[in-house]
């Protein structure tokens, strides 16, 4: 479930009307790091799969925003 969060630094021009946002982060989904899916991965129960949106635990990514505290879900 660990969504690897990456950061990038946008350019802040001196003429920006608003205070610049120095660092912006984005979360990278697990399927980027898996490549071809291996067989017999651990699965959720059907009910949980319906809630989480995927059948396999490794692909579960709730995609929290950086400002949202990653609340501990029961099925993560």
């Amino acid at each position: 479930m660990s969504t690897h969060r990456r950061v990038w630094y946008p350019y802040a021009s001196p003429f920006d009307p608003c205070p610049p946002i120095k660092a912006k982060t984005y979360s990278t989904p697990p399927n980027l790091f898996l490549g071809f899916q291996p067989p017999n991965l651990e699965q959720f129960t059907p009910m949980q799969a319906l809630r989480t949106g995927t059948l396999w635990k490794v692909f579960y990514d709730p995609w929290y925003s950086p400002y949202e505290a990653p609340r501990e879900d029961d099925h993560s």
Partner: protein
């Protein structure tokens, strides 16, 4: 409009869960044709879905058309409540 019994909702949710598993397995099996366990699981869930469909349709009425569901008498596939109304 006929009111649906309470146990309909639990059965419908279970049917939706089984449907979701079948969809995910279908997509998985498209790229993994030799995965024996996954095919077994798929067939189990397909069999399970057929049983669940009978349960749900006994309370709700036909779910699908064009021969995918039996019809009641009189012709009732277009009776309420519709899927977005349940």
């Amino acid at each position: 409009m006929k009111q649906l019994p309470k146990e309909f909702y639990a059965a419908m949710e279970e049917l939706q869960a089984v449907d979701f598993v079948l969809v995910d397995l279908t997509l998985y099996l498209d790229t993994h044709p030799e995965d024996y366990e996954a095919i077994n699981q798929f067939n189990q869930f397909a069999k399970e879905r057929r049983r669940l469909k009978k349960v749900v349709e006994s309370m709700y009425g036909p779910l699908q058309q064009f021969g995918n569901s039996y019809s009641g008498y009189p012709w009732n596939w277009d009776d309420g409540p519709w899927p977005w109304q349940i």
